[in-house]
């Protein structure tokens, strides 16, 4: 491969390694600090959950991996994104478009209603994706066969390949979109809220299909969601994002079963009605996310945090390592930390 | 009510800077709209003070000795083929052209707007009937329709205004209907019905303000269109009757001599352009200033 091949990342089996990513959106009027010092890595076959609320920077992080940030405003100002040891940020646009996007890295968007071309049948749409990324120069017949295989992979009978998107229900459309994303057998799949627009029973079906495919194909997946239930059921590792930063990072066991949590994570859990308990008040996080054009100097969560003290206002917290897998960005844990992960 | 506010809470929630003041504050910020406004005021000034800044007699006075003279200190815009002073004709012409443009556009907006609004809000068979009639009208070219109407009603300026308004009716009705349809089904309209608002309130307070943008733009654009259509009708002999100084009629008269005496065509042409431009710019400015989402 290229000169950017870092052996140490391959050794750990990381498909994707993001280091100190910083993204801004710049207009004449203001600068939005969308992503700040984000670092995480995803192993082959692993599903990594990126959790957070609207405006936390989840989608921006995903778009910067694919280098699809809006041309004029979005800018990566710092950091590296290694994909199988290759820094994606240093590749040319042409290489990105032809060899990476859609072929080795695929993305699924939230809204199944607008992601498909309404005047092309679904078979053609999958065929297009295959034809565009066709390094092995397969013949038309071979590609047609791949189209049918791909449809069956996502549980759609191959005889429906000549139907148009409006003839499919929301859940079926999302399956078609997943089929297109998986058509070229990518090494990394980024799914941005893939089931948010779907009904609960359809969500359950699509997620079950995704985890089955994940086992079968061994694709590394980044699952972006606001739903902790989806993370608990789908992911191996997860990170909680708040105001452009990772505030907590760990395995799902760390996130769901550990004693120690970032106050924001605690707030998120407190906001969800518990099915096992009777009608009672929820414990929401009061207040709002800080304005991303004017983030506070100290901890980004200081205004809403019930445990806020002087240090939180005066010093920006680092991501503290509590165990090999579990890190939290909070001053409360400074005496428990194994080492400080300097940003 | 434990949560209810204390009775002595006197913080006045309804005080607000006057709507007009706020509108003006936003309008002022739009540079091109301000240019449009200045141009429009200039045209209005010409129309209102025509008898002060120009000579009314010179408008129709034939003066064979000074025919086809270029601009001079005495005749700023030159003289036409009959020796009439073009400056006076253009200035007095602004009265006629503005009146035709503004009145026919306003009438068209009023009728078309009401028809379109009724069709959109009530729907069903009423919508079908109104819109099919509009389709029929639309299948006849607007100029031809206006021509036929003036011929039937007899030529006078009033009839010209009516004919122009009617020929533009379908496009106003269609536009009003479609921009209202996008608003009629919105949740805030349903909310208004839920708290007991009457149809009038819903249409004028909730739907109209949100459907207005494209209609304002269409109205101001049609002012200039109407002026141009009026002039072509004048040219055909069914519009404003000669020797009244209508800009379009002046253009038509001067057309033959465009090569030799271009000044004859330039001054009425520039006034038509200024008028059309000013209305369009002011219209865009209105639309933007009325939309709080575009504030600042």
């Amino acid at each position: 491969m290229s000169e950017y091949n870092f052996n140490n990342s391959d050794k750990d089996g990381y498909v994707l390694e993001i280091k100190d990513l910083e993204v801004i959106y710049e207009t004449d009027l203001e600068t939005v600090h969308a992503v700040n010092n984000v670092s995480f890595s995803v192993r082959a076959g692993e599903t990594f959950g990126l959790v957070g609320e609207t405006g936390a920077g989840k989608t921006t992080t995903a778009l910067s991996i694919l280098r699809l940030l809006p041309d004029r405003t979005g800018k990566v100002t710092k950091g590296e994104i290694f994909f199988n040891g290759e820094n994606l940020l240093e590749l040319s646009d042409e290489v990105m478009r032809k060899e990476i996007n859609g072929e080795r890295v695929s993305m699924i968007f939230q809204d199944p209603m607008t992601s498909l071309n309404p005047i092309m049948n679904v078979g053609e749409q999958i065929y297009e994706a295959l034809k565009y990324h066709n390094p092995e120069k397969k013949t038309k017949e071979e590609l047609e066969k791949r189209v049918e295989e791909t449809l069956e992979l996502v549980g759609i009978p191959k005889k429906r390949k000549n139907e148009y998107p409006h003839q499919f229900s929301g859940g079926m459309k999302q399956r078609v979109i997943i089929a297109i994303a998986l058509a070229c057998k990518p090494e990394l799949l980024i799914a941005d809220e893939p089931t948010t627009a779907l009904d609960v029973t359809i969500q359950a079906q699509v997620l079950a299909m995704m985890s089955e495919l994940n086992e079968k194909l061994g694709t590394a997946t980044i699952l972006i969601t606001h739903d902790l239930g989806v993370v608990a059921n789908m992911c191996d590792d997860a990170a909680v994002m708040y105001a452009g930063e990772l505030v907590e990072l760990g395995t799902v066991e760390d996130i769901f079963e550990s004693e120690d949590h970032h106050p924001y994570t605690v707030g998120l859990f407190g906001s969800i009605p518990n099915l096992d308990e009777e009608r009672e008040r929820l414990q929401p996080i009061e207040g709002l996310m800080p304005d991303p054009t004017a983030l506070p100097f100290g901890c980004h969560f200081q205004d809403r945090c019930p445990y806020c003290f002087d240090r939180c206002i005066n010093e920006h917290p680092q991501l503290l390592k509590l165990s090999d897998t579990h890190s939290i960005r909070c001053h409360l844990f400074s005496d428990k930390a194994l080492e400080v992960n300097h940003d | 009510m434990a949560l209810a506010a204390t009775k002595n809470n006197k913080s006045i929630a309804l005080k607000r800077k006057g709507k007009l003041k706020e509108f003006w504050r936003r309008y002022k910020k739009n540079r091109s709209a301000m240019v449009g406004l200045v141009l429009l005021l200039f045209i209005l000034f010409c129309a209102i003070f025509a008898n002060v800044i120009a000579d009314e007699d010179a408008v129709t006075r034939h003066n064979p000795e000074i025919r086809r003279q270029g601009p001079s200190a005495e005749h700023w815009f030159g003289t036409d083929i009959y020796g009439r002073d073009i400056y006076s004709r253009v200035i007095f012409g602004s009265r006629i052209s503005l009146m035709i443009g503004v009145f026919s556009a306003a009438l068209s907006l009023l009728l078309g707007g009401v028809l379109g609004a009724v069709a959109a809000y009530f729907g069903g068979w009423l919508d079908d009937i109104i819109m099919r009639i509009m389709d029929m009208l639309m299948s006849i070219p607007a100029t031809l329709l206006a021509l036929t109407l003036v011929a039937a009603l007899g030529s006078s300026t009033t009839n010209l205004v009516i004919a122009l308004a009617l020929s533009n009716l379908p496009s106003f009705a269609r536009l009003t209907r479609s921009s209202m349809l996008t608003v009629v089904d919105s949740d805030y309209v349903e909310a208004a019905k839920a708290y007991g608002a009457r149809n009038g309130h819903v249409i004028f307070k909730e739907v109209m303000p949100n459907a207005m943008g494209p209609i304002i733009v269409q109205t101001t654009q049609s002012v200039s269109n109407m002026i141009l259509t009026a002039s072509s009708l004048s040219f055909l002999g069914v519009g404003v009757q000669a020797p009244a100084p209508e800009w379009g009629a002046m253009l038509a008269e001067a057309r033959e001599f465009m090569r030799q005496f271009p000044y004859m065509i330039i001054s009425p042409g520039i006034f038509i352009i200024i008028t059309a431009l000013s209305f369009n710019l002011v219209g865009d400015g209105f639309r933007d200033a009325l939309d709080p989402r575009l504030k600042d």
């Binding site: 609960v200 739903d227 | 809470n9 929630a13 309804l14 805030y188």
Partner: protein, 342 residues
């Protein structure tokens, strides 16, 4: 009417309510089909179901924002389906609605104070501007909006604040009954919790009665006293909130509950085998249980005649032949053959 006479009358009672929409020339979409339930004063009835099950249509029909095709709506014991427009307009003060989308439900050209004061102005509640302003300020305080925001436009505010405006507008006329149509589904979780708490506090303080429409099972369990599960225009199961989650009887309810992804690791990566099939649309439905095509326990009878919506356990109603069979209840089909056509 005094309070005493209504002590035992439910605030809202719906009897065999239907709303059909005609589609094309011959077809009809049965959005709401013979639905019956009652809501007691001060209680919350949750209506849960997937998109297209008719739950929003039901909410709008009860408020007569849509005209019912057949059936009765009793409000404080009186049938309002026959009310004239004028009489209905007066009644609207007592029944209000909160919408799902806090972006689409507020007029973008009005300020916060304008929006909240509209219901009061339309109904001529106050004769002086000062009193009106005072009430608006009071309403803003009740829903937790700072009065300095009274001049703001909706687009300047975040989703949670906008939804608070929607709540204030609904409260302006001091209603007794509020239909909450997915009021929190468009909001982020932390904001969602704030609004849910607000709605519950308001209920406690003002004795409000809610019909809470949602697709989110954990939200509906949290806020409701009783829950109706809807499927393709019909209520298939109704019971107290606790009972429904502890002992779901209808196969569809069971499927819904098994599809919930709880935010803990207890059921991680287990097979959720019983969730399959998709919701169809209720256009010209044939007789029989509408869930039958997706049901694991389908019997011959299920596609022949509508199952009766009946009380199978104290205050637990289900429409399912399988449940009748399991509980050893007499099947009722023999006596009702002729009622199956609609």
């Amino acid at each position: 009417m005094t309070e005493a006479t209504h002590k035992d009358t439910p605030l809202v009672e719906v009897i065999d309510l239907s709303k059909y929409f005609s589609i094309g020339r011959k077809s009809e979409l049965h959005a709401v089909d013979k639905v019956s339930f009652a809501i007691d004063k001060g209680k919350t009835l949750g209506i849960v179901g997937e998109s297209g099950c008719g739950k929003s249509t039901l909410g709008r029909t009860i408020l007569r924002l849509l005209e019912p095709t057949s059936g009765q709506i009793l409000f404080e014991g009186e049938d309002i389906t026959k009310y004239s427009k004028t009489r209905m307009r007066q009644l609207r003060r007592t029944m209000q609605i909160i919408f799902q989308d806090p972006y689409a439900s507020l007029n973008p050209r009005k300020t916060v104070a304008d929006i909240i004061s509209q219901p009061l102005i339309v109904n001529n509640i106050f004769d002086s501007k000062d009193k009106l302003a005072e009430r608006v300020a009071e309403l803003m305080e009740i829903v937790g909006l700072a009065t300095r925001l009274s001049d703001a436009y909706p687009h300047e505010l975040d989703g949670g604040r906008r939804q608070r405006i929607g709540v204030a507008r609904a409260l302006a006329l001091r209603p007794k009954f509020i239909v909450c149509d997915e009021p929190v589904s468009a909001l982020d979780v932390s904001i969602q919790a704030q609004i849910l708490n607000l709605l519950m506090d308001l209920q406690d303080d003002m004795g409000l009665t809610y019909m809470f429409i949602t697709h989110d099972l954990s939200v509906v369990k949290h806020i409701s006293d009783e829950i109706c599960v809807m499927y393709l225009g019909q209520i298939v199961e109704k019971s107290s909130s606790r009972d429904l989650f502890k002992n779901p009887l209808h196969p569809y309810t069971q499927m819904l509950l098994s599809a919930i992804l709880a935010p803990n690791l207890s059921r991680r990566k287990t097979k959720k085998g019983i969730v399959h099939g998709e919701v169809t649309s209720p256009i010209d439905p044939t007789p029989g249980c509408r869930f039958a095509p997706r049901c694991d326990y389908r019997m011959e009878i299920c596609t022949k005649a509508d199952p009766e919506f009946r009380e199978v356990e104290p205050n637990h109603y289900v429409a399912c032949y399988k449940v009748e069979q399991d509980l050893g209840l007499d099947s009722y089909i023999s006596g009702n053959q002729n009622e199956t056509g609609i």
